[in-house]
């Protein structure tokens, strides 16, 4: 085990590579993590390649073939409007992944920034930021998103309509963006606190490390020290949290779509499809089963991958 590592370090001067290679070895030894990684890779591929691999247009209706069961022509069957369920699941993967990545990205940016500032500056700033964090965490997330969406969507739509009537600029017709902005924004708003707390805890231990004192003794500014010395060293556990967080964001998006406050139809979303399928599941179970199974699989995959990454990257667990 040590031999190849030393050799690779000798050949490749960048040890960063062998550190990650080490983690990669540990990850590969974990069967559940490999399973999760495969599913995630497939999911990403399907989402990216969606328009090229989906057998039908997700919107094209065939009213002579509604509610069909699985067949060679329609692997997952068709829905009540004769749309191909497989195509809709594939496009749903695009929505789910887009939401997961963008929302996690925004939540991460907010969480890392606030958490790092709270942990490094400390004192009153820390108290205020943590107070806000706790407050956001204490509000039931579904409720918060429902309130944001229902209170902001109508006035925003009305504003857009008014702008369109006044200017006739087609930009104002793109109401689908309201959907995305509101859904992304409100989800990011409820998902950032855990990242903030995680990063704060990391920063609290890192701010007193010798290299941070050494950087201060060189006269570097707090902002520079935070960006270059503290945050990069705090990100290890965050990688793990992000992996699990992507799954959480996917489930959350489906939950909101299921409740009708997420992405609006006809944009395909697994949550929408589950919601539609639930009404007819006694007669056409495949309409529920297909999106639900895919959502479940994706969530489990991200969770396994997160666990695997945790084991591979967390040195305290290596000795177990």
């Amino acid at each position: 085990m040590t031999m190849p590592v030393t050799l690779s370090a000798a050949v490749e001067p960048d040890e960063q590579v062998s550190l990650w290679r080490d983690a990669w070895h540990r990850l590969r030894a974990n069967r559940l993590a490999v399973f999760g990684l495969c599913i995630v890779v497939i999911l990403v591929f399907v989402a990216v390649a969606g328009p090229w691999i989906s057998p039908y247009d997700f919107l094209s209706q065939d009213l002579e073939a509604t509610n069909q069961g699985p067949s060679m022509a329609h692997w997952f069957g068709t829905d009540d409007l004769g749309r191909d369920v497989l195509s809709r699941v594939i496009y749903g993967a695009r929505t789910a992944l887009l939401v997961a990545v963008v929302v996690t990205g925004i939540a991460l940016a907010i969480g890392v920034t606030l958490g790092a500032i709270a942990g490094y500056v400390g004192g009153r700033v820390d108290a205020v930021i943590m107070w806000v964090t706790d407050m956001v965490m204490s509000v039931p997330s579904l409720l918060l998103v429902v309130v944001i969406n229902t209170s902001l969507k109508p006035p925003l739509s009305a504003f857009m309509d008014a702008r369109y009537l006044a200017t006739h600029n087609p930009i104002w017709r793109q109401t689908i963006w309201i959907d995305f902005v509101l859904v992304f924004g409100s989800m990011a708003l409820i998902l950032w606190p855990p990242y903030a707390r995680l990063v704060r805890a990391q920063v609290l231990s890192i701010r007193n490390r010798n290299y941070v004192t050494a950087a201060r003794a060189l006269g570097l500014t707090p902002g520079l020290i935070l960006r270059r010395y503290v945050v990069p060293n705090a990100l290890g556990p965050v990688i793990v949290a992000v992996s699990a967080g992507l799954g959480t964001a996917m489930v959350l998006e489906s939950a909101f779509s299921f409740l009708g406050v997420g992405v609006r139809p006809p944009t395909p979303s697994w949550g929408n499809m589950i919601s539609d399928g639930l009404r007819v599941w006694r007669t056409y179970p495949h309409l529920l089963a297909a999106p639900a199974a895919v959502l479940g699989l994706a969530t489990v995959a991200f969770s396994f991958l997160g666990d695997g990454l945790n084991d591979a990257l967390n040195p305290r667990q290596w000795r177990k």
């Binding site: 001067p13 490390r209 290299y211 004192t213 050494a214 570097l220």
Partner: protein, 330 residues
């Protein structure tokens, strides 16, 4: 000594404890001339590091400066604004830390860490700074020089890292270099190399040095003058040769006696100073060394002796018995 580079007066540092504030540095005064090398000696916890950290405003949370002044180049370091203090750190005072293993950011190449003070204090462009960093590595005797800039800290040995740290401290050619036990974490042979390197750099660059250590023997060839700290107080101050020839304070005598000598009889046990330094929160009213002192008299327990000249020279000590300050006071 007409125009000292740095002049510290009555510096006091308090640490808050559960039993209230404890003075870990108590009325320390010293000065250092341009180009002079000063050794600060004492055992762990006597306030050596805290003294220098206080000068740079780098005291750990819970510790604060409780009084005194530290004048350098017309400014009092202890009352500077944060911005002005950042100019001093790295720009006017370079600092070398004890543990080269943990004093580098593990995710940055050493080049990236070396150029930061140059960019920040000297306004250099990245490319110029990188070239200068290469020169610095050659200056501190790193084989391969500039080619090492692309290495990460863990790819260098402890001795090499300590050399890089010295390069970092000297990057902006500060007039004062503070070395906080820079050799403690190194092998004995490497320690000697580092001391030689600093001696050589001092000869070439002419900066002043404050060298903090608990190893009197190590610095004997490096520094001009030595301050002996005990329990946050200066107990003796003398030119280095004088200190070895005529240690006056019983604590200094004990320190010197505990050093192994090459000529000594082989079977001799090294004498140690019995006991431990007093808890900073509960220091005795008189001389802090009194409870461990073999020469203790009644007065030691009640009254702190002042630091007075011994034999009329620059040699000063604070001891009722050996320095005889009562005769001067009378």
């Amino acid at each position: 000594m007409t125009d000292p580079l740095l002049s510290v007066r009555d510096l006091a540092v308090e640490v808050s404890t559960r039993r209230g504030p404890a003075r870990v540095v108590d009325g320390v005064s010293f000065h250092i001339g341009r180009g002079e090398a000063l050794g600060v000696v004492g055992e762990s916890g006597c306030g050596k590091s805290i003294t220098t950290l206080a000068l740079l405003g780098l005291l750990p949370p819970g510790a604060r400066v409780a009084g005194g002044s530290a004048r350098m180049e017309g400014k009092d370091l202890l009352t500077l604004s944060r911005r002005a203090l950042r100019e001093v750190r790295g720009g006017r005072i370079g600092m070398i830390f004890q543990d080269p293993m943990t004093s580098f950011n593990p995710v940055l190449k050493i080049g990236d860490q070396l150029i930061e003070p140059l960019i920040y204090h000297r306004g250099m462009l990245r490319r110029e700074a990188w070239a200068r960093a290469g020169e610095l590595l050659r200056l501190v005797g790193i084989p391969g020089g500039a080619s090492r800039l692309d290495n990460y800290p863990h790819e260098l040995s402890g001795g090499m890292r300590q050399r890089v740290m010295i390069a970092m401290g000297l990057a902006c050619e500060p007039p004062l270099l503070i070395a906080d036990e820079p050799t403690t974490a190194l092998d004995v042979t490497i320690q000697a190399q580092i001391v030689d390197l600093v001696k050589d750099l001092r000869a070439r660059l002419g900066m002043s040095i404050i060298w903090i250590t608990h190893d009197l023997a190590l610095v004997s060839g490096l520094v001009d003058r030595v301050i002996v700290l005990y329990a946050g107080k200066i107990v003796e101050e003398a030119p280095v040769d004088d200190l070895y020839a005529r240690p006056t304070h019983p604590y200094t005598q004990g320190l010197l006696a505990s050093l192994p000598t090459l000529e000594g009889e082989e079977t001799r046990r090294l004498p140690a100073i019995g006991g431990t330094p007093p808890d900073p929160g509960r220091r005795p009213a008189g001389c802090p060394f009194a409870p461990r002192c073999p020469l203790r008299v009644a007065r030691c327990e009640s009254e702190m002796p002042p630091l007075v000249a011994v034999a009329g020279g620059p040699h000063r000590a604070a001891c009722w018995v050996n320095a005889k300050p009562q005769e001067l006071a009378a």
